[in-house]
């Protein structure tokens, strides 16, 4: 047992590091990230960074060589990610395109389409988003109701998508819609890609409980009113929409990992430094108990990740252990945020006039979203139970019914 790179991994890490040092600035401390005053600025900086990475061959490591990637192994992607995270560079804009939309285009688009779209996606010239969730279809995303009706060589799309990250600055999107409500739920779906500038598309930022809307990579509602999509932009066969969507959703669950934000480290520093009626908070037994519990969780997740990386490092496929990550980290984030706020006593509720929301307040406000995004706690428990432990599926009230006959209200 050791935590060292193999000689090949060390060589690859050194190569990443060398290029990053020549092209970016190291973060001053662990928590400082890249911040820009406006969305426009952030996009500009992010696009320039993506372009730079593309030219040097770092933009889409895992892509096949024929599309400009280097077919990097999972462990090489992890090493790149670890090294890039140490530098003050923008992120959060291209992950959906490169991680989900790119691979689905490679698998289902025509050669001409791949030539046209993949390079600009990788270069950061065009941004992509993913249009799956709907107001009435969250956890049960296959219950989506946006309609696609055939009209000659086109399809006419009507309906609404929701929780679309980055729709407000995206150039293209991947979209799953219902072409036939007379078929069963999963059978009546078809998959497309769409130009987000198409007539009839309206993007409205969602105001979240954090008060944020349309800032950074925020969420949106996307309305489709008689939007025309040529049949040539269909990905997969008519009726294969669910199969195509599942591939990209698997990628999303991998992408949504650790909840970022206040963790045991911050709680520990606070407990050691903050005064609580004459002595440091850490001298309080109830604080000690919480710290012990959070450390067991944080440390358990850290070494769970190391076990996964170890398997990848040996070229083995990792076990299902990573499936616990989001559920544990999002709940821990919520508790630690709560703890940090409480530590200020009555002032905990106040927002600092100069510094704004504190990191603990941000964790507490953001954590409810993390417990929902990319699979709710409840859906993730179902997934662990059904896919990891092999328990039977719930009986489904919509089984065998045509979509139009599925009950939607009492």
């Amino acid at each position: 047992m050791d935590f060292n790179d193999t000689p090949e991994q060390a060589k690859f890490r050194a190569k990443c590091r060398e290029w990053l040092e020549a092209n970016a600035e190291l973060k001053e401390n662990k928590s400082s990230g890249h911040t820009d005053s406006t969305l426009e600025d952030h996009l500009k900086v992010a696009k320039a960074w993506q372009q730079k990475k593309y030219e040097a061959g770092w933009a889409m490591l895992h892509w096949p060589k024929e599309y400009g990637g280097i077919e990097a192994s999972p462990i090489e992607r992890i090493i790149w990610g670890q090294e890039e995270a140490k530098f003050n560079v923008p992120g959060g804009i291209f992950e959906i395109g490169l991680g989900m939309c790119g691979p689905v285009m490679m698998q289902y688009a025509t050669e001409d389409q791949k030539d046209r779209y993949l390079a600009p996606m990788a270069e950061g010239k065009e941004i992509w988003c993913q249009l799956f969730s709907e107001p009435a279809a969250g956890s049960d995303v296959a219950g989506l109701r946006s309609k696609a009706e055939r009209d000659g060589d086109d399809w006419i799309i009507n309906g609404q998508k929701v929780w679309t990250s980055g729709a407000h600055y995206s150039d293209f999107g991947i979209l799953v819609v219902r072409h036939d409500p007379n078929l069963a739920k999963h059978k009546g779906l078809t998959f497309f890609f769409v130009d987000m500038k198409s007539p009839g598309i309206t993007v409205k930022p969602i105001k979240q409980i954090t008060g944020q809307a349309g800032t950074g990579a925020g969420f949106n509602e996307v309305y489709f009113d008689d939007v025309r999509i040529p049949d040539s932009q269909r990905l997969g066969e008519i009726g294969d929409g669910w199969k195509v969507a599942i591939t990209t959703l698997m990628n999303e669950r991998l992408a949504v990992g650790d909840a970022r934000g206040s963790d045991i480290e911050e709680a520990l520093i606070l407990s050691k430094t903050k005064d609580d009626a004459g002595e440091a908070m850490i001298k309080n037994d109830s604080v000690r108990e919480k710290l012990a519990d959070w450390f067991c969780e944080a440390n358990g997740l850290k070494y769970t990740k190391f076990r996964t990386i170890s398997a990848l490092s040996k070229g083995e496929s990792p076990g299902p252990e990573a499936s616990i990550t989001k559920i544990v980290s999002a709940n821990k984030l919520q508790e630690i945020g709560n703890f940090g706020i409480d530590s200020d006593d009555m002032a905990g509720m106040l927002i600092d006039e100069n510094d704004g929301i504190s990191s603990f307040q941000g964790a507490w406000l953001g954590a409810p979203g993390l417990r929902i995004a990319g699979g709710t706690d409840e859906i993730l428990r179902n997934i662990i139970a059904e896919r990891v432990l092999g328990l039977p599926q719930d009986p489904r009230a919509d089984k065998g019914l045509a979509f139009k006959d599925i009950p939607t209200k009492a």
Binding site: M1, D2, F3, N4, D5, Q9, K30, I75, D258, D263, I264, E265, L268, K272, I282, R288, E289, L291, A292, D293, F295, C296, E297, A298, N299, G300, L301, K302, Y303, T304, K305, F306, R307, I309, S310, A311, S313, K314, E321, I324, I327, V328, E378, L380, R381, N382, I384, A385, E386, V388, L389, G390, L391, P392, Q393, D394, P395
Partner: protein, 373 residues
């Protein structure tokens, strides 16, 4: 990055699993429970024949000369099968104490016999119904002779020797005694898990030998406790996984309201939470195994983390396994109570969850920074 056991260690684990299954699995613990035997001596003999009592003993003393990681994989399987043998007392504690702190004379005398099974060792810490501390010990050593009472001593019925921490002229000592000495009285103590035997051991001017330096007994026992905590945590993970597997199997075969109970989310989410707890505990155990095998300065923190995490996991899995089984889970006939009782014994055996949480946080207090994953 290689946070994993080697192929040889995985092979050993697989052999251990097959061995315990072949020898009867949980039936051994049940037989001891039903018949109030002092451990399963046949199973213990076979373990000795496999050489596992000598895993960590150097080849010069007839042992296998392997490392702690080999003990970790055996411990997990021992925990899974709830084997009613004095392995933990003799191997995790006694043998380690002799290897680490005994002089050459004692090593030559005892280590080969620990391999052959002629010597079985155990340890004594507790004296009363509260946590033993450096300052509240009452068992005392005067001119090499000790007097006083240790309680909840595991396996003293089969053990020939014992190490114990005692009060001495220079503070505390770690001392070795021969339990066959006529001045020692060993009395069985009833306990919640009758598949394991515990004893009151009374000393009256009992001859003893010092291990290591005088005055360092408390430091030594803390180190032995840290080491043992990692190995016991592997036992706890093995037991947790077995309880989860049992709950899972039952939830697939039991029907209620016309469907498998495992298809209800109430059961699914319960089992998912058990899986989460076991996974966290297992990963913390790997951290502990790394710290133990590499003699890292992080051992006290790693051991406490593995210990707390594994204690929580085994207690959760064993109690929710009973719950999943409904009324059947409360019967003597079903094996659920075996896990429940073992989980309780293991959770207090080295000191309570609260004690280890306190150790964990004391270690966090000493660290200035934590490495982020």
């Amino acid at each position: 990055m290689n946070l994993d056991f080697s192929d040889d260690q995985k092979f050993l684990q697989d052999e251990a699993k097959k061995f315990f299954d072949k020898e009867g699995g949980l039936a051994n613990a049940r037989a001891v429970m039903d018949n109030s035997l002092e451990g399963d001596e046949k199973l213990w003999q076979k373990i000795i024949e496999l050489g596992w009592t000598g895993v960590r003993i150097p080849e010069a003393y007839d042992g296998l000369g392997l490392g702690h990681l080999e003990l970790c994989v055996i411990a997990e399987e021992l925990g899974r099968s709830l084997a009613p043998v004095p392995f933990s007392s003799s191997v995790y504690f006694f043998t380690e104490a002799i290897i680490k702190f005994a002089n050459e004379e004692i090593k030559s005398e005892l280590l080969p016999k620990l391999v052959s099974g002629d010597t079985v060792g155990t340890y004594g810490i507790a004296e009363d119904t509260h946590q033993a501390t450096e300052s509240n010990l009452s068992v005392t050593s005067t001119s090499e002779k000790i007097s006083g009472i240790k309680i909840a001593v595991p396996d003293a019925g089969i053990a020939s020797h014992m190490i114990l921490v005692v009060k001495s002229e220079s503070g505390t000592d770690l001392r070795l005694v021969d339990l066959n000495d006529t001045s020692v009285t060993v009395t069985p103590q009833k306990n919640l898990d009758t598949s394991r035997a515990f004893f009151k051991v009374e000393f009256k001017d009992t001859p003893s030998r010092l291990l290591g330096e005088t005055g360092k007994g408390w430091t030594y026992i803390q180190h032995l406790l840290d080491q043992a905590a990692v190995l016991f945590a592997f036992e706890q993970v093995g037991g947790s996984q077995a309880a989860l597997d049992m709950a899972k199997a039952y939830s697939m075969e039991r029907f209620a309201f016309g469907r498998q109970i495992g298809s209800y989310q109430a059961i699914k989410h319960k089992l998912a939470d058990m899986y989460i707890a076991v996974t966290l505990a297992k990963s913390n155990c790997y951290y502990g195994a790394w710290a133990l095998s590499s003699e890292s300065a992080e051992l006290p923190l790693a051991a406490a983390t593995a210990r707390v995490s594994a204690t929580k996991a085994f207690q959760l899995c064993s109690k929710e396994n009973i719950q999943t089984h409904g009324g059947n889970g409360f019967t003597w006939e079903y094996d659920c109570h075996l896990f429940y009782k073992r989980s309780k014994v293991l959770s207090v055996l080295l000191g309570s969850e609260a004690t280890w949480k306190e150790k964990l946080v004391s270690n966090l207090e000493k660290t200035n920074t934590l490495a982020k994953g």
